[in-house]
């Protein structure tokens, strides 16, 4: 099985040999989508972990034991429902309909994080600053 997670490394933890350990100790295949590791700053990585269910579970617990924040909801894209005004500027620019009209009568817009591929297009296009990401300044 495969699970997508977001790992956030607090500044003092960026030097941990996490990926090596996950491969070596837990027999996991790791596919990195996006990452920023900077010895002087907080870091992050969006990864797919493939392996047996138990190994994935143990690997995640190991990462947590090292003080790494494991975000399994994969909130690489943060949509702020308070800032969103449901204008719909983002709609033609979202390739997967992760941002979509929830109710055609009120034209209220919602965000489906399962569908989001983190293309970050909405960040560029939302005039109201409702979309943000740790992957983009």
């Amino acid at each position: 099985m495969t699970r997508k997670i977001l790992l956030q490394f607090p500044k003092e933890k960026v030097n941990q040999p996490l990926v090596y350990d996950l491969v070596k100790k837990y027999d996991l295949i790791i596919n990195i989508f996006r990452a920023k590791i900077d010895p002087d700053d907080n870091g992050f990585a969006v990864v797919d972990l493939s392996g047996t269910g138990k190994n994935i579970e143990d690997g995640i617990n190991y990462a947590k034991s090292l003080g790494i924040i494991v975000n399994e909801k994969m909130t690489g894209l943060n949509w702020d429902s308070e800032r969103c005004v449901s204008c719909g500027t983002c709609l033609p620019h979202c390739p997967t309909d992760a941002l979509y009209v929830e109710n055609p009568k009120t034209m209220k817009i919602n965000f489906d994080d399962e569908k989001c591929i983190e293309c970050l297009s909405c960040i560029d296009h939302c005039p109201f600053g409702a979309c943000s990401s740790i992957f983009k300044e």
Binding site: V85, S86, C87, G88, T89, L91, H125, F128, G129
Partner: protein
């Protein structure tokens, strides 16, 4: 037939029957026009979207020693100081000092006047930097301090142009992306943008300016303000469909209200990539049901309101006045629309859902007696057309 005074009496005694401009459509279909005109007193309309011609007059109070401000910035955004000593006008589209604008095209335009207005209304601290040449009575020549809206004597929003009656739909027929005040338009008509609350929009429900005029009280982002004039570029002379509804820009409103009473949910600084900064505003306007004709016009629905689709890669910038076709708002509310045989993705800059919320807030305020109607003391002009600029020598 009802009068403003009769309707206000009913509002004060908590007996007014009020509906929003969406509900009224099916209600009149059910009840019939005559019965509904007897029963309903007020229809509430609303809109929420970018309104570039907006801004506010601020009075900072006097410093000791005094300053006659000649130039000033709020959070590095230039304000107009060519008025009295410590008065200034902060405009929505003024860009922050040193913003690279479109130097690295398309620019991001992260912060400007609209954002400062939003911060003020949120009660946040804003930096004031002011310069002066110094006079005998105003010796101070430079100051820097922090202010919040509570420190100001007045913060009065005065918007030269809001509530466009109807609006263009923008598309791009060229072969490269363009960045406009109606957003990023991809090449070859891949997407389009509209910007109107359609059937909820104030002046689309009063197409001949029978009730909305100079002096009409309005709900301006939560404050109770009023129409102070025709908006700039107002033009009652326009193309209209058979129901009398304008099928292009047409009328506009100049609005004013007390910023200290506004709700930040409905006053929002916006950044338009490749274009600039602006302010999005929420506005609600009540329409008194004085007679059945006025009521009938409030039952206009999205499928009966048409807007011109204009090519923003050529026809708009070159001011040719040409459009591709006209489309209605019911079709615009779908995710795709067919233009000249091509399926085009639809985006919108206005928010119908916020407009609906505002129409309902205004409805509640009227039902509970908190918002009274006012009779305009002058009608908006209906016969003055919109002029183009003459370039001398051409």
């Amino acid at each position: 037939m009802k009068t403003y005074a009769e309707i206000n009496e009913k509002i004060k005694s908590g007996r007014a029957v009020v509906m929003n401009a969406e509900e009224i459509i099916s209600y009149v279909e059910q009840k019939g026009l005559d019965a509904a005109a007897e029963e309903v007193d007020v229809v509430t309309t609303a809109t929420f979207g970018p309104m570039c011609s907006s801004g506010c007059f601020l009075n900072f109070g006097h410093s000791a020693p005094k300053i006659r401000i000649s130039e000033a910035w709020l959070d590095d955004v230039l304000v107009y100081s060519g008025i009295a000593a410590v008065d200034a006008y902060l405009g929505a589209t003024q860009l922050r000092h040193n913003d690279p604008a479109n130097m690295y095209y398309p620019g991001e335009f992260r912060f400007g006047g609209g954002h400062v207005i939003e911060k003020l209304i949120r009660g946040e601290k804003v930096q004031l930097f002011a310069l002066s040449y110094g006079t005998d009575d105003y010796p101070c020549r430079e100051l820097r301090t922090y202010i919040t809206i509570d420190d100001l004597n007045q913060a009065i929003m005065v918007n030269p142009r809001n509530c466009y009656q109807n609006y263009n739909v923008a598309i791009n027929t060229s072969d490269k992306s363009i960045y406009t005040y109606l957003g990023h338009l991809k090449p070859n008509m891949e997407n389009l943008t509209y910007c109107s609350a359609g059937q909820l929009s104030p002046l689309l429900n009063d197409p001949f300016y029978e009730t909305i005029g100079v002096g009409t009280s309005v709900w301006l982002a939560g404050a109770h303000g009023h129409v102070h004039a025709e908006g700039t570029q107002h033009s009652g002379v326009c193309t209209r469909t058979d129901n009398g509804v304008p099928s292009e820009g047409a009328g506009t409103l100049g609005l004013t209200g007390d910023m200290k009473k506004m709700n930040p949910e409905f006053v929002r600084g916006i950044s338009l990539k490749g274009y600039g900064v602006s302010l999005a505003l929420g506005i609600g306007i009540p329409i008194p049901v004085l007679n059945r004709d006025i009521l009938k016009r409030t039952t206009v629905k999205d499928s009966e309101i048409f807007a011109p689709v204009i090519d923003y890669s050529h026809e708009y910038p070159q001011a040719t006045g040409k459009f591709l076709t006209k489309v209605n708002y019911a079709d615009l509310k779908k995710s795709e629309i067919e233009i000249n045989g091509k399926k085009v993705k639809v985006g919108s800059l206005s928010s119908y859902s916020k407009a609906l919320k505002i129409a309902d807030i205004l409805k509640e305020e009227i039902i509970s007696g908190k918002f009274l109607l006012s009779e305009p003391y002058r009608k908006l002009t209906a016969d003055v057309p919109f002029k183009k600029m003459k370039i001398a020598g051409n």
